[in-house]
């Protein structure tokens, strides 16, 4: 029996539509759920006040500061390392067993469960290097976590730059480094930025790694060596200890809104940059 191709086409189309719809539905469900539970808790004082009574009352200001601190440290450490490695892998070595080994290593690192990275950060930064539970320990551990993502996305972005551009630059007498900084990197920047923005999202939402390395202090961290809890850790503790579900949802709402804002800002900046270059 032959199946009518037109019918198959229609069936496949509706099936794929359903699959996509389901994916979007899950996303919308999560966001609405958090919004309904969390938005009523939000107010300016919730954002600007210190945590009181273990989180049952007061605001979440210290967790905002901690999250910002941790994410910034992770970015400042991981971005140059990641982009640098990607440049080395794509531009300065020939494809061979060394590059494959490095790439394989980066993929393994990406596959390490975050709780284990947290434990590793605890042993190395908190104990061995004696940074204590601190922003520095947490930020460095987060950097290790996001490094593989940045390397892989940057590498793909650099590889996607047409080889002809480099030929042109070399034929004009530009050195390799001039070629990379003037032509290759600007072309690859949107892709690199996507990787970095994804990493920011992961850092902000990460719980296990920072719970082990940055601690859960209620105070606002003021130096690199202060302990503090990020928004995700605060949410985790509030929910797990059953301290205050409304405040937990409020924190979750802020968490999601900030990730959303970062994505939108990065996207807008990228569009502006692209317009300049094309």
């Amino acid at each position: 029996m032959r199946v009518d191709p037109l019918l198959t086409e229609r069936l496949v189309k509706s099936l794929l539509w359903c699959l996509t719809g389901l994916t979007i539905f899950v996303l919308i469900f999560i966001i609405t759920f958090i919004a309904i539970k969390g938005l009523p808790q939000l107010s300016l004082s919730f954002l600007w006040h210190d945590i009181e009574d273990m989180g049952r009352a007061g605001g979440i200001f210290p967790t905002l500061v901690s999250t910002l601190y941790l994410t910034l440290i992770a970015l400042v450490v991981a971005s140059p390392l990641g982009v640098g490695s990607a440049i080395y892998l794509t531009e300065y070595t020939l494809e061979g067993w060394v590059t494959r080994l490095i790439r394989f290593g980066a993929e393994c690192l990406a596959g390490v469960p975050s709780i284990i990275l947290g434990l590793f950060g605890f042993v190395l930064f908190v104990i061995k290097l004696n940074f204590g539970w601190s922003m520095l320990s947490g930020g460095l551990s987060l950097a290790i976590m996001i490094l593989p993502t940045i390397i892989r996305t940057s590498e793909e972005a650099l590889k996607a730059v047409p080889k002809e551009y480099q030929d042109v630059c070399f034929s004009l007498g530009l050195s390799k480094w001039q070629t990379i900084t003037r032509v290759v990197l600007p072309c690859a920047l949107p892709g690199i930025m996507t990787g970095i923005v994804l990493s920011i999202g992961r850092s902000i939402g990460e719980t296990a790694v920072v719970l082990f390395t940055a601690g859960a202090s209620l105070r606002t961290p003021t130096s690199l060596f202060d302990s503090g809890r990020s928004m995700a850790v605060h949410f985790y503790i509030l929910a797990r200890e059953g301290l205050s579900m409304p405040n937990a949802y409020g924190t979750a709402a802020i968490l999601i809104i900030s990730i959303l804002l970062i994505n939108i800002t990065a996207y807008t900046l990228m569009q502006r940059f692209l317009r300049k270059y094309q």
Binding site: S171, G173, L174, R182
Partner: protein, 253 residues
């Protein structure tokens, strides 16, 4: 007699175990257009890439012999290839404008060399180069538009102008009109003829008629070897070798 600009002696080139050029001897005279013709895989492009050392970018190559530019060996191991490439410019088969404005495409490389010190000098350099490539009239009102919006023929003339802006001594053209329509091709050929008083030009082309129209001397490569070399009209009227005759009359290739 014109002075010799580039002197090639016993040049042999291998990609791994594959021999791309074998025992090539050739003189390229200043202020002339040398046309290089030959079927695919005969070593034409490889030869161009040796002249500006772009062949360095390919792994696993072996070069023997000597290439002298103004009596200076350019195959020497520690030769400054960046400055060599500023003296020997290259235009590729496929027009590759960089994803920037027309002006920036021309200005960015000279600016990095700090050649024109002043902004006005740079603008003048851009204008002169575009005029020399016969593109100025078409783009003078939209210098700051993206170069990617130009047509294929305009893009190729832009690439030529970009090479000219570096004020090279020699220009290598690797089948510059292979992707262009006849009118754009004619404009490029006109431009080349006008340019040869200031530059030495090496033109690689699959189009034998183009070589016959544009070049002063012609070299015919076949299977990695130089088969025939001579003054263009002579080679086309009375080729000395049978292979050349077969090739230009279209019996193979």
């Amino acid at each position: 007699m014109l002075p010799v600009k580039i002197q090639v002696r016993e040049l042999t080139f291998h990609y791994g175990s594959h021999c791309a050029i074998q025992g090539l001897n050739l003189d390229i005279y200043q202020g002339e257009i040398l046309g290089l013709m030959g079927p695919a895989k005969s070593g034409k492009t490889t030869f161009l890439r040796v002249l500006n050392r772009m062949c360095d970018l390919i792994p696993n190559v072996r070069i023997q012999g000597s290439v002298r530019l103004d009596d200076e060996e350019i195959l020497a191991p520690h030769y400054d290839v960046d400055s060599l490439r500023r003296r020997i410019g290259m235009v590729f088969a496929k027009p590759v404008p960089l994803p920037r404005s027309i002006y920036e495409n021309l200005a960015f490389a000279p600016r990095l060399q700090k050649k024109p010190q002043h902004r006005d000098d740079l603008a003048e350099l851009v204008e002169n180069s575009l005029k020399a490539a016969q593109l100025w009239d078409e783009v003078k009102d939209r210098l700051h538009d993206s170069a990617l919006k130009l047509s294929g023929g305009q893009q190729q003339r832009l690439c030529l102008a970009r090479t000219l802006a570096m004020a090279p001594e020699v220009i290598l053209l690797d089948e510059p009109t292979s992707g262009l329509d006849p009118i754009s091709t004619a404009r490029i050929e006109e431009t080349l003829t006008a340019l040869k008083k200031d530059f030495t030009i090496v033109l690689v082309s699959n189009n034998t008629k183009q070589i016959a129209r544009c070049s002063d001397k012609v070299a015919f490569l076949l299977m990695s070897r130089l088969v025939e070399y001579g003054v263009t009209p002579e080679v086309f009227m009375v080729p000395k070798q049978k292979e050349t005759d077969d090739y230009i009359s279209g019996r193979f290739g």
